[in-house]
C-alpha cells in the first residue's frame, strides 16, 4: 500500500509517495521565510533520513519558487548528499523557465544528482 504524506494549500501541493519514493512539489512556493517553510522542511528531512537507495524529486509542476524556497530545496539536496548512499533524480520541466536557470545550482551542490529536464 502506498503511503502518501501531503501538505496542501490553495497555492501549492507537496507530497511524498513511499511506493515510488517520489517527492512532488506543485504550484507556487513563495512563503515568507524559514518559519513558514518549516512543515515542508520537516517532510523533506523525514524522507532524507529514511536513507532510501533512490529518491525522485519531481518539480515538473512547480511554477514558482522564491529565494527562501530555493534555500529549502538546497538544504534538502545537501542533506541527501550527506547520507552518501542515497541517489537522487531531480525531475524538472523546460516549459517553466526558472527551472532551466536555477536547478543546475542543485546539481552543483550534489554532483551525483541526475537532472532530468523534459
Amino acid at each position: 500500500m502506498a503511503e502518501i504524506k501531503a501538505i496542501q494549500t490553495d497555492d501549492y501541493h507537496i507530497s511524498y509517495d513511499n511506493e515510488t519514493t517520489t517527492i512532488s512539489c506543485k504550484g507556487a512556493l513563495r512563503l515568507s521565510g524559514m518559519d513558514e517553510y518549516e512543515p515542508i522542511v520537516h517532510l523533506f528531512n523525514e524522507v532524507a533520513d529514511m536513507k532510501l537507495p533512490l529518491i525522485y524529486f519531481d518539480l515538473k509542476e512547480l511554477k514558482f519558487l522564491n529565494s527562501s524556497g530555493i534555500n529549502v530545496l538546497s538544504k534538502f539536496v545537501i542533506r541527501v548528499r550527506q547520507k552518501k548512499t542515497v541517489d537522487m533524480v531531480l525531475q524538472g520541466s523546460n516549459k517553466i523557465p526558472w527551472q532551466g536557470k536555477s536547478l543546475k545550482n542543485l546539481q552543483r551542490l550534489m554532483p551525483t544528482l541526475t537532472l532530468e529536464l523534459e
Binding site: 513563495r30 529565494s67 536557470k101 545550482n105
Partner: protein, 192 residues
C-alpha cells in the same frame, strides 16, 4: 546625504513606458500582506508581456515566457526584501517602478531602512560587489545548510545576479532628519 553602491544610475534615461505601484507598509501586518508581493509581481510580469506579444514563432514564445518568468521572480524578490527590511517604526511608503526600454527592463524598489541596519547592509553590499557571485552563492547555500536557525536565506540578490544575469545597484538617501529617515532604492537591470 546620498551614497551609491554597485551599478546605480541616478537619472535613468526617460522611458515612456513605466509602471509604479505604491504600498503603505504599516497598514496591515506583514504576514497578511505577504501574499501581496506575489500578486504584484505576477501583475507586473503579466503587464509587461503586453509589450512582448506572443506569436506563432516558437523562439519568440520562449523569449516571452523567459521575460515573464524573470520579471515575476525579480519583482517578487525585490518586494519581499523591501517588506522585510523596511523600517516599521516610521511611515514611509514602499514603491516599485518598472521602466521598459528596447534592450532592458529596469526595476527600482524604494523602502525605508532602520539607521541601525545601514552599516551591516552596506558591508554586505561591498562583499557582494567585490566577490565572485557564483562562489558566494554556493558558499551561502552550504552555510545555510549548516544553520538550522537562520531566519533569512541571503539568496535573493545573489540569485538575481547568478540565474537572471541582473545587474544591481543601490542608493541610500537621508530623506528626513530628527528623527532620521533613510530610504534605500535597489535598482535591478535585466537585459532582454
Amino acid at each position: 546625504m546620498v551614497q551609491l553602491f554597485g551599478d546605480f544610475h541616478q537619472n535613468p534615461i526617460e522611458s515612456e513606458e513605466y509602471l509604479r505601484l505604491g504600498f503603505s507598509p504599516s497598514s496591515i501586518p506583514l504576514k497578511l500582506r505577504w501574499r501581496n508581493n506575489g500578486l504584484s509581481a505576477d501583475f507586473l510580469a503579466d503587464y509587461l508581456t503586453a509589450f512582448f506579444p506572443a506569436n506563432e514563432d516558437e523562439n519568440t514564445n520562449n523569449r516571452h515566457a523567459e521575460i515573464k518568468c524573470a520579471v515575476g521572480y525579480i519583482a517578487n524578490e525585490l518586494l519581499e526584501n523591501a517588506m522585510k527590511f523596511n523600517d516599521e517604526t516610521i511611515h514611509y511608503p514602499i514603491s516599485i517602478q518598472l521602466y521598459l526600454y528596447n534592450d532592458r527592463i529596469i526595476f527600482c524598489v524604494t523602502n525605508s531602512i532602520s539607521p541601525l541596519a545601514v552599516e551591516k547592509f552596506q558591508a554586505y553590499l561591498q562583499e557582494l560587489i567585490h566577490s565572485d557571485p557564483q562562489e558566494l552563492y554556493i558558499n551561502q547555500l552550504e552555510h545555510n545548510a549548516q544553520d538550522d536557525h537562520g531566519k533569512t536565506s541571503g539568496l535573493g540578490l545573489l540569485s538575481m545576479i547568478n540565474d537572471y544575469m541582473a545587474t544591481l545597484g543601490w542608493k541610500f538617501e537621508t530623506v528626513k532628519k530628527d528623527p532620521e529617515v533613510i530610504a534605500v532604492t535597489t535598482m535591478a537591470q535585466l537585459t532582454v
